[in-house]
């Protein structure tokens, strides 16, 4: 008697769960660390309108790409450079037809808000008073790779490289300046904007800097492909574009 | 030898050790059944335990005086101790064990030289051996010699004959007699067998459940 009641209960639970699956999907987005604040705001708005749930994993794009290569169950990859997206495309891990990029960014040199160091140009980073410079790992993480490209172009990389403290992602470089453990860092302008403990010492003009691009795509093995495409469309729509611009990203809109 | 054991009170597992006696003989035995508190009494005299109250004085030197808050640490008491389990240091060879307590650089020599002690107790041939590779009787003699070589003012021996067969006992007793006669160091034996220490001692004190039952001076 008791057993059949339990079985009926379990059956109901199963049906209920099955029904729920059809109602609201959960979309997992692996996104570059520099997108943390903007995407959080966009997702909140999206969830109010569409009732799908958006789950984020923010980290350096290179680590995320590796995790996807190892089979991490993600729906969307939102990278901070084309190289990491190419890496996945070459391994046929993305749905190439969904790949697009609308965001760009600027590099800035930051110092602590109360710093008295006189840094007005990239060359000033070679001064002896600048002992340590934090960069997101220049070997792999986009922010660091962009910074290295820029410094190499300015013929400063060889002198600056010994001073580099690599961090796991661009927010780590930001934190290092905030805590005072490094004299300066190179991060995105959008990162400098969210912190009150740092100030921008130099902004790399768009024309001089590397071509920063944030491609996004739905992954081939996405658990929720339909819901993922919906969210991707939203990310490319005007409403999201406004929020990105709010945070300081350069938004290239097809229609605007 | 004058050993004052005044107002000693030590809480033990089942009873309180209460001793109030003055020992003036050269060789004294404390006899009693096992668990009477004999070893604890030796520990107090050697300074290895702190009693609730006591005045322990050897000759003119105050060793423990709880009333005045005085306590002389064991290393300064110049009292040799041969415990029941001998406690020969297993990681040192016999020679190093013997020389452990020697204060002067050329082996000992303030009162008894190494050569003299080794000869009297016949342990010279054992010098290089490991303490785990010598016989029970040899261990006894080594432990005895080790304590002697510190030139003690008093020698405490806890059950020196326990666990030895009759033949071995018969062989050890003469050595103890030699220590008494040759080195003239005052000795305090503990034994559960009155008979075996009878011949060696001047005075016998009976201890039972922490209390002194009788004192008998044999050479009076």
């Amino acid at each position: 008697m008791r057993i059949s009641a339990v079985l009926k209960f379990l059956l109901c639970l199963l049906l209920f769960a099955g029904a729920q699956a059809g109602i609201a999907a959960s979309v997992t987005v692996f996104a570059a660390a520099s997108l943390t604040d903007s995407l959080a705001k966009i997702a909140a708005q999206y969830e109010r309108e569409i009732h799908d749930k958006i789950v984020f994993n923010f980290a350096g794009s290179s680590l995320l790409a590796r995790q996807i290569e190892e089979g991490a169950p993600a729906d969307i990859f939102f990278s901070a450079d084309e190289a990491q997206m190419d890496r996945l495309q070459n391994k046929r891990l993305i749905r190439a037809e969904t790949r697009q990029s609308r965001l760009s960014n600027l590099l800035v040199i930051i110092v602590a808000a109360d710093s008295s160091l006189a840094i007005a140009t990239p060359r000033d980073l070679t001064k002896a008073s600048v002992v340590r410079i934090a960069l997101a790992d220049p070997q792999a993480v986009p922010a660091g790779v962009y910074a290295r490209e820029f410094l190499t172009k300015e013929n400063l990389w060889n002198v600056i490289e010994p001073k580099v403290v690599p961090t796991a992602n661009v927010r780590g470089a930001l934190a290092a300046v905030e805590s005072g453990d490094v004299e300066a860092a190179i991060v995105y302008k959008t990162d400098a904007a969210i912190s009150k403990k740092v100030k921008i010492a130099f902004e790399v003009p768009r024309a001089d800097g590397p071509k920063i691009s944030y491609p996004m795509a739905v992954l081939k093995d996405a658990p929720e492909p339909a819901a993922a495409k919906r969210f991707l469309q939203y990310l490319n729509a005007p409403a999201a574009g406004k929020i990105f611009a709010e945070f300081g990203f350069i938004v290239r809109d097809a229609g605007l | 030898m004058k050993l004052l054991l005044r107002n000693i009170s030590l809480r033990l597992a089942d009873f309180v050790l209460k001793v109030n006696v003055e020992l003036a003989s050269q060789v004294t035995a404390i006899v009693g059944p096992s668990g009477a508190g004999k070893t604890s009494l030796l520990d107090l005299i050697a300074g290895l335990r702190l009693p609730q109250s006591a005045l322990i004085q050897l000759e003119e030197r105050v060793l423990t005086d709880t009333a005045r808050g005085l306590f002389l640490p064991p290393r300064l008491r110049e009292i040799g101790y041969v415990p029941q389990d001998l406690a020969l240091f297993p990681h040192l060879p016999v020679r190093k064990n013997l020389l452990y307590g020697c204060k002067t650089a050329p082996p000992c020599g303030s009162l008894f030289s190494y050569e003299h002690v080794a000869a009297v107790l016949e342990i010279e041939p054992l010098a290089g051996r490991s303490v785990t590779r010598i016989s029970g009787g040899e261990k006894q003699r080594v432990a005895l010699a080790r304590a002697l070589l510190t030139s003690p003012r008093l020698l405490l021996l806890d059950e020196p004959l326990a666990g030895l067969d009759a033949a071995l006992k018969a062989r050890i007793i003469p050595y103890l007699a030699r220590v008494r006669d040759e080195f003239q160091v005052p000795m305090l034996f503990v034994s559960h067998d009155r008979q075996e220490v009878q011949a060696l001692c001047d005075e016998v004190v009976e201890l039972e459940r922490g209390q002194i039952r009788s004192e008998a001076n044999q050479k009076a």
Partner: protein, 227 residues
Amino acid sequence: MSQEWQIVWFTVWVSALSTVLILPGGLAAAWLLARHEWPGKSLVETLVTLPLVMPPVATGLILLKVLGRRGVLGGFFHDTFHLDIAFTWRAVLAAQAVMSFPLLVRSARTAFAEVNPRFEQIARTLGAGEWRVFFSITVPLAWRGIIAGMILAFARALGEFGATIMVAGNIPGKTATLSLSIYESVQLGHDAAAFRLLGISVALAFAAVWSGEWLMSRRRGLHETAS
């Protein structure tokens, strides 16, 4: 390839240095905890065990706050001696020392507790002061547990990751340890290098534990009973 050997060499010598540096404090703590009762003992016991049970990155974060340029210790060294601790090899040393300390203390404490106090007492009656008793009686009789503790500590230091990455970062040529490099190689997709380093880690850990076992089995049976 030579860069890999540089990483191995760096990891081994900093781990060895860390093990040597924690020895005096570790033995002192072990002895105090083994032999005596004193007010505040439980607190010290808990503090000593903390790095063993806390998440390593949490310990690393605490170290970063203390050893960073604005930290209590880091600030002092930076302002007074112009010496940085966080993000240098000294931070690697600190992380390893803190994380492996409890292992040494636990092993040594058990070893000290197993030394028959009678030996120490008799040594005192033979005229030895406390330091002499400790070094000539207690330590030699406890050496097996002490060595085991040192080997555990060394192996733990070799493999330290969570605290190290927090307080020292993974700076090529300056703070890159074996475990940090394995992590980095995996991230970059350099699988061959990752597996080489992995193989070296396993070999090192194996060698450390094996030599410890050998050391101790050689002298087995020598220290059993007194009589």
